[in-house]
Symmetry: C2
Subunit: 387 residues, 2 copies
């Protein structure tokens, strides 16, 4: 029985694109340790990554099929995925956790450039002990272990139609669940209670996992957007935000919704409208060929005019896919150009008084024809109300 | 409003123990980037870690309070936690993602030993780009950045009474949910459907998150235990396993249960009984003062006698806490000695025919008085039956 979420041709395309990019970058291989990268090339659906006891490696050579170098416990599950060959070591074995095996497997690859790319750079974390990486680097002698992250992001940033459909599916599920929140949430309930009920609804509605739920509330706005919901009870005049990253076959949606509890101040309503409007500007500005810093600039105009004091997020959106955030950053400093197949969040937010923040978020795909494909069901212009 | 899951004295104790250990190991500070370590010392409850765009740092100096060095977006949430001071940088800023700020904050600490511990070793992964770590190492000049993981595990491996109660709470919730599986699962349902229903029940019953669910099934046993449930439909004669890591305030339980679908072969029932028995031996052998390799040996006896062909997990259990797996490994190679306050899984498994594996698991705390404190509700000796 296959467990692959896509036809084999999808994985073949990814490997072919990786190999083309590697030749351009003079890499003999890419070595991947992160769950999202391992999954991208193999299709493996596992949460075993929660356990840091054993590293896993996937080698994408410049020519030929992929080689999984994994602990013995992973062999059977990986064999059912898209992979050409598998090498294993008995693990846990902290004194040699795959290091000598990796040295021998990498050493046997053709050495054309003498350079192998690892996940060393931007928005990457190597999922193995650093001391083991440094030891492997020593053992590899004259072969350079270099930063492969530009190659990885070049690939993963452009989604296929099938990938976009997974994100759309997650976004649709969560959109409908957000819409139902007013049917069960009300003043007096805690942030934690509402977050839990929403998470359950999302799972029941067909999402596979819900790895990210942030929730905050406060009179006329909230003071941060990254913590999980607390025991704070909602009160009349509050704005409640819930931000959800839920997955279908590993692909994330990532967006939030705001709710007005009873009667919210006119000032909060005005700011909410400005942020809703900035989202609209973002959706209409995000086209193939646009630089993300210009997208950022276009969205900032309305926020500044509405009295923005600051936005500590440092950006107004980001890439989205097998991770809840991926490059690029929708910010003044990022000069990435939007291309068809990119999926990004449009996420304006503003603090309008000390500790009073309002943030919106939608998910879109960049298309060939110039109009963004909105994957979420667009938030209503007026906040949903909780009684 | 406080969001701390423990009284402040709990965090003060942790920091005092860390500082005592650091003095013994000649470290001027510990620098922590992993979610579990950050949470251990601060109490922060956030899933923002899902986003790899921005690293976070917590510095535990050899004397004095902790210093959080975090992206601006984290400041307000971290301020509500247990931390003495906070430094921030505007992020994302890939060209300097906290590196120069960390250099200056670490540089201002007293230099007694000239050594700072990072998460570089066993069962650790540094949550920052390796190129940034290497740059920081260069910038720190003569100060050595060394492996702090032995210090971290020495602390975290011994749980306080309050920590054990969190794990017990998670284990109790999941135990009751496992018991209810036969009320809704039956032959013809898929692994994925049953996993989802169980996950929802666990959330509804009060667990905070369910980051790990593995599920497998097959006639008389399963061929692996790490993948998520598939579209495979249960059939008469199958053994179904579900393995769950669920949290309360970040603390994991991690255990599985087996279910017999209709009439299961006598051979599978015999092996199941042997594995159940090996669990019992493990629970009775795991006492303060026992070496884990002797615990492993005691459990292996019954499995070998029952016709064990192999066990690709490489161990029969592991530590448990803020991660679903922590050191030590219950294996022949680990010479750790069990101490009061350790929480471990007892997890015997055996393959008795090609592709037919049966695995059990319980969670226990090591006590002063010599008797293990079983945190799970012990699995029944006979498998629960699904019709």
């Amino acid at each position: 029985m296959t467990t692959l979420p896509f036809p084999r041709s999808e994985f073949e395309d990814r490997i072919a694109r990786a190999q083309a990019s590697m030749r351009g970058r003079e890499l003999d291989a890419l070595v991947l340790t992160a769950p999202s990268n391992f999954r991208y090339f193999t299709g493996l659906d596992s949460q075993f990554w929660e356990s840091p006891a054993r590293p896993w490696f996937l080698i994408v050579p410049a020519d030929g099929g992929t080689i999984a170098v994994v602990p013995e416990i992973a062999e059977v599950a990986v064999k059912k995925c898209f992979v050409s060959s598998i090498r294993t070591w008995p693990s846990p074995r902290p004194e040699d956790e795959g290091v000598t095996l990796m040295t021998s497997v990498l050493g046997a690859l053709p050495h054309r450039f003498g350079r192998i790319g690892f996940e060393l750079g931007r928005e990457s974390a190597l999922r193995m002990p650093v001391v083991d990486f440094l030891r492997l680097r020593d053992l590899m002698g004259t072969t350079e272990l270099v930063d492969g992250s530009p190659c990885i992001w070049e690939l993963r940033n452009i989604k296929s139609t099938l990938e976009i459909e997974k994100i759309r599916q997650a976004a649709r599920i969560v959109s409908h669940c957000f819409e139902r929140v007013p049917t069960y949430a009300n003043s007096g309930m805690t942030e934690a209670q509402i977050s839990r009920a929403l998470t359950i609804d999302i799972l029941r509605s067909g999402a596979h996992t819900v790895p990210y739920v942030a929730c905050a509330s406060g009179e006329g706005g909230y003071d941060q957007i990254i913590a999980r919901g607390t025991q704070r009870e909602l009160r009349d005049g509050d704005v409640l935000i819930i931000d959800v990253g839920a997955t279908v076959d590993g692909y994330f949606c990532d967006f939030d919704r705001n709710y007005a509890v009873g009667k919210v101040s006119d000032e909060a309503l005005r700011v909410h409208d400005a942020v809703w409007h900035a989202t609209q500007v973002g959706i209409e500005t995000a086209r193939a060929g646009t630089r993300v810093r210009d997208l950022w600039r276009a969205m900032m105009g309305g926020l500044e005019a509405a009295g923005m004091r600051g936005n500590n997020a440092g950006r107004l959106g980001h890439g989205l896919g097998l991770q809840v955030t991926e490059p690029p950053s929708n910010s003044a400093a990022d000069d990435a150009v939007l291309e068809p197949g990119m999926v990004i969040t449009i996420e304006p937010g503003m603090e309008y008084q000390e500790g009073k923040l309002i943030v919106h978020e939608e998910n879109i795909a960049i298309t060939e024809d110039g109009f963004a494909d909105v994957l979420t069901i667009r938030a209503p212009r007026e906040m949903w109300r909780l009684s």
